[in-house]
C-alpha cells in the first residue's frame, strides 16, 4: 500500500481546492466571508470538524456496516460541530454572534460529508489526516481570499484595523450577500485565466521542444 505523501495535503490547497475548484460548501463561504476574522474563524472551525471527523471515521471504518454509514458519519460530524459551537461561545460571544447560525450549519456542509464518504471511509488514518488538513487549509485560504477583499472594500478595514483615511467611501455592497458572489466570481475568473495562460505556455513549450 502506498505511503501517505505530502501530495495528499497539497492537492487540497490548489488542484482540488474545495471552493475554487470543487465548488463545495459555498453557502457558508458566501455568507460569513464579509470580514476577514469571520472567514478565518469559519475556516478553522470547518477544518477542525473535517480533520477530527476524518480521523474518527477512518479509524472505525471497518466497524461500520455499509447501510449505517451515512447516519454514523452525520452523527459524528454533528457532535463535533456542537463541540465547536460551545468552544467558540466560551472563547468569545461577539465572535459567536457574528457567525450566527452558520456554525451549526457546518453539519450540512457537503465538503465534510463528501470527504468522509469519498476519502476517510476508504483510506488509512495517516492519509486521511493529510487529505483533511489539506482540504481544511484550502477551504480556509479560499474563505480568507474572499473575506479580505470584502472587508477591505466594504468596511475599509482589515481584521478590524482601519486602512484608509475617513474620506474613503466604503462599498457597502461588498458586505451584502451579492458582494460575496462578485468576489467569488472575480476569483474564479482570475484562477481560470491563470490556468489558461499556464496551459498555453505549456503547449508552446511542448511544440518548440
Amino acid at each position: 500500500m502506498a505511503q501517505p505523501t505530502t501530495n495528499q495535503f497539497i492537492k487540497g490547497l490548489w488542484q482540488q481546492n474545495p471552493i475554487f475548484v470543487q465548488a463545495l460548501g459555498l453557502c457558508p463561504a458566501l455568507a460569513v466571508s464579509n470580514s476577514a476574522i469571520n472567514a478565518l474563524t469559519m475556516g478553522l472551525a470547518t477544518s477542525f470538524v473535517l480533520l477530527s471527523s476524518g480521523v474518527i471515521i477512518s479509524s472505525i471504518r471497518s466497524l461500520i456496516p455499509r447501510e449505517a454509514r451515512i447516519v454514523s458519519y452525520i452523527c459524528i460530524i454533528a457532535s463535533l460541530v456542537t463541540t465547536v459551537d460551545y468552544v467558540i461561545k466560551a472563547i468569545s460571544l461577539d465572535l459567536h454572534k457574528s457567525l450566527g447560525a452558520f456554525i451549526s450549519l457546518i453539519v450540512v456542509n457537503c465538503l465534510i460529508l463528501g470527504r468522509a464518504e469519498a476519502f476517510a471511509s476508504r483510506n488509512t488514518v495517516g492519509k486521511t489526516v493529510l487529505d483533511s488538513a489539506g482540504m481544511g487549509a484550502g477551504f480556509t485560504i479560499a474563505l480568507l481570499c474572499i473575506g479580505v477583499i470584502r472587508e477591505v472594500l466594504g468596511a475599509g478595514t482589515l481584521f478590524g484595523i482601519g486602512l484608509f483615511p475617513d474620506t474613503f467611501q466604503t462599498w457597502t455592497i461588498m458586505l451584502l450577500p451579492s458582494g460575496g458572489f462578485f468576489v467569488l466570481a472575480f476569483w474564479l475568473l482570475a484562477i481560470g485565466l491563470w490556468n489558461d495562460a499556464r496551459e498555453r505556455s505549456a503547449k508552446t513549450a511542448e511544440e518548440t521542444a
Binding site: 471504518r61 447501510e67 459524528i76 460551545y86 468552544v87 476508504r122 466594504g154 468596511a155
Partner: protein, 229 residues
C-alpha cells in the same frame, strides 16, 4: 487511488453495535463539552451584560436587580433568572443613579435586544447599547455604530403625561434629518426598518417601565440590597 469500501457485512448485531455505540459516544462528547464550557459561557454572558450596564449607567457602583411584581409593583429578583433583566444603579454615595432596562423586539432579520438607561432627574433615556442583533451588515448594523443615530439616545425625552400613567409623547422614529422634538429618533438612511424597530422597542418598554418606576420611586431610593454583578 482510493481503496474500495471496507465495510462489515450487515448483521443486526453489527448495526446495533455501530449505531448505538456511536450514538452513546457522541452523547458523551456533547455532555462533556457542555459541562466543560457551561461555566465559562455563563461568565461571558454575565460579563457582556455587566459591561453594557456599566456603559449606559457609568456612575452606578451598586446594582439592584428588579422586575415587575405580580401585583403590578416592583420586586427584587435574581437577574440571572430574568429574560429581560432591569437594574437600579446607585452611585458611590448610595444615591439613585438611574435604571438600566433590557428590552427586545423584532428587527429586520431577527430579534434585537437592547439595554437603555432611564434617568429620573432628566425624565429621559440617557444611553443605549445593542446587546443582540442580526441586522444586515453595512446597513442595519449601523444602529450600533452610526454616531448620529447613537446621539439620539443621549437625551431622549420619555417624560410622563399629567395623569402619570403613560408617556406624554410616544417615542417615535422620524425620517433622517426631520427630528424636531426631543422624543423623536432620527432614522438612519438605508436602515429604516432597523431604526424604526429601535423606536418601537423603546416605546413599548418605556410605556411599561417609566410610569411604574416613577410611581415607586420612593421604594427604589431606599437602602439598596446589593446583588452580585
Amino acid at each position: 487511488m482510493n481503496l474500495p469500501l471496507q465495510h462489515l457485512p450487515t448483521t443486526p448485531v453489527a448495526m446495533y453495535r455501530a449505531i448505538v455505540g456511536i450514538g452513546m459516544l457522541c452523547a458523551l462528547l456533547i455532555v462533556g463539552i457542555y459541562q466543560a464550557t457551561a461555566e465559562r459561557i455563563a461568565e461571558n454572558e454575565a460579563q457582556a451584560l455587566a459591561e453594557a450596564v456599566a456603559a449606559v449607567l457609568p456612575t452606578a457602583q451598586v446594582l439592584r436587580s428588579i422586575a415587575v411584581a405580580s401585583d403590578g409593583g416592583i420586586a427584587d429578583v435574581d437577574a440571572s433568572l430574568q429574560k429581560l433583566p432591569a437594574f437600579v444603579g446607585y452611585d458611590q454615595s448610595g444615591k439613585l443613579a438611574g435604571v438600566a432596562i433590557t428590552a427586545a423586539g423584532m428587527g429586520y432579520q431577527d430579534t434585537i435586544q437592547v439595554i437603555y438607561a432611564y434617568s429620573f432627574s432628566d425624565s429621559a433615556i440617557v444611553g443605549l447599547r445593542v446587546l443582540q442583533s442580526l441586522e444586515t451588515p453595512g446597513l442595519g448594523d449601523k444602529i450600533e455604530t452610526d454616531p448620529n443615530f447613537v446621539a439620539n439616545f443621549e437625551q431622549l425625552d420619555v417624560s410622563l403625561s399629567a395623569a402619570g400613567n403613560e408617556l406624554a409623547h410616544a417615542v417615535e422614529t422620524v425620517p433622517n434629518g426631520s427630528k424636531e422634538h426631543p422624543w423623536q429618533i432620527d432614522a438612519i438612511t438605508g436602515a429604516t426598518v432597523s431604526s424604526e424597530a429601535i423606536g418601537k422597542i423603546l416605546d413599548t418598554s418605556a410605556q411599561q417601565w417609566v410610569p411604574l418606576l416613577v410611581r415607586h420611586r420612593e421604594q427604589l431610593i431606599g437602602a439598596p440590597e446589593p446583588v452580585e454583578n
